[in-house]
Structures are given as structure tokens and as C-alpha cells.
């Protein structure tokens, strides 16, 4: 895992200094929720089911903003080449980028959820479960997102290409995240299948992305 901690630390340091990804994705996610809140008047039951969907729409699109930034910062001054010539193994580069994306997305989500609760007037008790589901959903979304971000960054239409590649592949994890989030918020539904799907998706896509990243980042 040579270089993993070093690259992760560097990415977080740049983000702490610039706050570009975090501020853009937070503002975007809040705006999405504000728009839904003002355009729809929901009963408390509807808010539980639909609110989870609104939340993940906000997370998915705001997440794409930070994923786009992930490899864009390597593009400037040819830093991707700096990674390629370094002793860091491609798998370590992938994991560092993936973890940085998970941390940034989760930070945004943890800042946005309290606002969501206020906007939609929701009371819920399964806080720990919600955090676990946010983590599992974010891991699945970021695993593929990090890989596709590395592909899209070398294209001219990268801002458009990333969501076009990413959203179809992440449909299963987004549906599973919405269903399990609704349950965590208090909806009376069965989610065992969706919970298992989240875990399996995470394992499969983190492993697959780790293995193919070497071919994506080179030339």
C-alpha cells in the first residue's frame, strides 16, 4: 500500500486549503433540498419515503461535483504523471483517491442531514443506522465514481461525461440507499434485501475498481 496515506493526506490538505469541492457540493446539496422543500408540500409519511429520495438525489449530484475535482487537481501541472513515475502502486493511488472522495462526500452528507431534518420536519431515532447507511451508500457511489473520474478527466467533455457514465452504473446502490435511508428515518418497510445489496455492491465495485484502475490511469 505504498503511497496510500501520503496521497490521501495530500488530497485532504489541498481540500482543506481550497475548500473547493466541499463548499461547492454542500451548497449544491442544500439548494436541491431547498427547491424540493418549497415546491412540494408533503405529509409526514410522504416525507419519510420521498425525503430519502430527495436526500440521495442531492448527495449523488453534489458527489459528482467533488468526484470531478478528484482527478482534475492531478491534471494541472501534469501531476498524474508525477503519480505514474513515483513508486506508488496504481492500487494505492486508487484507494487514496477513493478514500478522499468518501471522506469529502460523507462530510457533506453529515452537514446536510441536519438541514434536511429541519426542512422536512422529520423526527427519527435510528441515527447510528442512518450514518451506517450513508457510509455504505457513499462507499458504493465513490468506488465507481473514483474510477470513472479518472477516465473522464482525460476527455474534453469531462464534466458531462462523468454523470453520464456514473449514474447508470450506480442506480442499484442509489435505490438501495434510498430504501434503507427511508427505513432509518422511520418508514415502515422491509429492507433486508436492499441492505444486503448495498454491502455486496460495495465489495464488488471496490474490488473491481481497484483491480482495473492500473489500466485506466496509464496512458
Amino acid at each position: 500500500m505504498s503511497g496510500l496515506a501520503t496521497i490521501l493526506r495530500k488530497d485532504l490538505k489541498i481540500e482543506l486549503r481550497t475548500k473547493e469541492a466541499l463548499s461547492a457540493s454542500f451548497v449544491f446539496a442544500v439548494l436541491v433540498l431547498v427547491i424540493f422543500n418549497f415546491t412540494l408540500i408533503l405529509t409526514s409519511d410522504e416525507a419519510l419515503r420521498l425525503g430519502a429520495g430527495f436526500l440521495w438525489i442531492a448527495f449523488a449530484f453534489s458527489g459528482i461535483l467533488s468526484l470531478n475535482r478528484s482527478f482534475a487537481l492531478e491534471r494541472e501541472e501534469g501531476c498524474t504523471q508525477g503519480l505514474l513515475i513515483s513508486p506508488a502502486e496504481p492500487g494505492s493511488i486508487y484507494l487514496a483517491k477513493f478514500l478522499a472522495n468518501v471522506i469529502l462526500m460523507l462530510t457533506t452528507e453529515l452537514l446536510v442531514v441536519p438541514l434536511f431534518v429541519v426542512f422536512f420536519n422529520i423526527e427519527f431515532e435510528r441515527v447510528g443506522l442512518l450514518i451506517l447507511i450513508l457510509a455504505l451508500g457513499t462507499i458504493g457511489f465513490s468506488s465507481v465514481g473514483t474510477l470513472f473520474s479518472a477516465i473522464a478527466v482525460h476527455t474534453r467533455m469531462r464534466e458531462v461525461l462523468l454523470p453520464l457514465l456514473l449514474l447508470p452504473v450506480t442506480v442499484p446502490v442509489l435505490i438501495a440507499s434510498v430504501e434503507t435511508t427511508a427505513y432509518a428515518l422511520g418508514a415502515d418497510i422491509t429492507v433486508a434485501f436492499w441492505f444486503r445489496l448495498l454491502i455486496v455492491y460495495d465489495i464488488v465495485f471496490v474490488t473491481a475498481s481497484y483491480l482495473v484502475f492500473e489500466y485506466v490511469i496509464q496512458e
Binding site: E76, G78, G82, S86, A88, Q218
Partner: protein, 239 residues
């Protein structure tokens, strides 16, 4: 000195689509040798350097660094290479010192704080060490990039136009650093358009033309003028 050549390529060919960037390039570079590669734009100089630096990993032919196959070059081989390209490979939103510390960690430099301070001092970057790379001029970025390449004390330096944008004083610092590097047994491959500077520094000159090795000579057996005449003949032949 090792008998194994530091660089050995055999019939390296690289194509980008239908464009042949390199065609059957076979070169051996001994440990401690300084080789300059000159040629027109598009001659394949940078592509050759990118293959040696492991940035480009798909090509035909064989290449070895330090006796190991380049295609399978692992961390141990990459750790022995220092590279300067057109771009600085430095993060614009980090300071010069932060960038160098990052690369020192990445290359596993053991005494990294001392080493970072040393290369900053050697490249005369003390005043700019705490400045963001984004705020540096082209010349200062180039110096910081050179500091990055020297940082982990490589055995092979691959330099693509290292003197571009640097002022005379910085050029002097770089020349001294390269001389010192060579003195302790380091091998240097430098790509440049500046024949005079290359001639002054190198043991051997190579002319690439349209991806082929058109001419090579040791600097000890001919003169700059004779080489320049040959260079112009080759380019004239192309025109």
C-alpha cells in the same frame, strides 16, 4: 561502476494511431554517462523520455533500466529515476515546501526534512519555499521541479528541456547540480533544442529525426561546429 548499462533499449517503436513517434530506437547508456538528445519538434524526443520514465508503458520493442525490464518496472526501479518534464508535476495549491515534502514521503526519503531543506537551498528557493506553486513564475516553477527531481537522490535523471525559462543564475545552479550528480556516478538523459548547452554538458549527442535515430557521436571526438553542420544537414534533408 556497474557493467550493466543504466538504459538499454532495443528496437523501441511507438505509434499514436497512424503516427509513428519512434521507430526502432536502440540505445545503450552506461552508468555515469550524460547523453543529450536533440531534434526538431515532433522528432520523438519527449516520447522516448516518457517511455524511459514509465509514463508511457505500451510500445513495441524492449527496454531495460538498471538491467530490469521496463514494462515490469516496479517501485524499486521507479524510485531510482528523477524526471523533469515540460510541466512541473507540482500541485499549484500547495507550497513549494509542501510539494517537496509530499514527494519525499512518496519516494520514502528517510531524512526528508533535511533533504527537502537541502534541495531548496541548492536550487536557491529559500525565499519561495512557503509560496504556493500557483504564484511562482515559469522559471521558479522549473527550479522547484528540478528540486523535486533531485530530492530522492536518483541514479538516473531524465530531463526534458530543463533549462527552459530559467535565468542565467538558475542555469548556473542547474549546471553545477548536474555536474555534481554525474560526478557521483549518476546517469543523465537530457532532451533539448539548445545544442550549445547540450554539447557543453554531454558525453554523447544523439539526433532524432522523425522518430528514428539519425546520428550519434561522442562529444570528445568531434567539435560543436562539426556536429552543428551534421545536424543542419540532417534537418536540411528533411526539409
Amino acid at each position: 561502476m556497474s557493467d550493466t548499462p543504466t538504459v538499454r533499449t532495443e528496437k523501441i517503436t511507438k505509434q499514436f494511431g497512424r503516427f509513428t513517434a519512434l521507430l526502432n530506437i536502440s540505445i545503450e547508456i552506461a552508468q555515469g554517462e550524460f547523453v543529450s538528445i536533440v531534434g526538431q519538434n515532433g522528432a520523438g524526443k519527449t516520447t522516448f523520455l516518457k517511455i524511459l520514465s514509465t509514463i508511457i508503458r505500451t510500445y513495441e520493442g524492449d527496454a531495460q533500466l538498471f538491467g530490469s525490464a521496463l514494462r515490469r518496472a516496479g517501485a524499486d526501479v521507479r524510485r531510482r529515476i528523477g524526471v523533469v518534464l515540460h510541466e512541473s508535476l507540482l500541485y499549484p495549491d500547495l507550497t513549494v515546501a509542501d510539494n517537496l515534502t509530499y514527494y519525499a514521503r512518496l519516494y520514502g526519503v528517510s531524512n526528508r526534512h533535511e533533504r527537502v531543506a537541502e534541495v531548496i537551498r541548492r536550487l536557491d528557493l529559500d525565499v519561495k519555499a512557503r509560496s504556493l506553486v500557483r504564484s511562482l513564475s515559469r522559471g521558479l516553477r522549473q527550479r522547484a521541479s528540478l528540486a523535486r527531481a533531485f530530492l530522492h537522490e536518483p541514479d538516473l535523471l531524465l530531463l526534458d528541456e530543463p533549462f527552459t525559462g530559467v535565468d542565467e543564475r538558475a542555469a548556473g545552479l542547474l549546471t553545477d547540480s548536474l555536474a555534481e550528480f554525474k560526478k557521483r556516478g549518476g546517469t543523465i538523459v537530457m532532451v533539448t533544442h539548445n545544442i550549445d548547452r547540450a554539447w557543453h554538458l554531454a558525453d554523447r549527442m544523439i539526433i532524432l529525426q522523425r522518430g528514428t535515430l539519425a546520428f550519434e557521436t561522442a562529444t570528445s571526438i568531434t567539435t560543436t561546429d562539426a556536429f552543428r553542420t551534421r545536424y543542419e544537414e540532417i534537418l536540411g534533408g528533411e526539409a
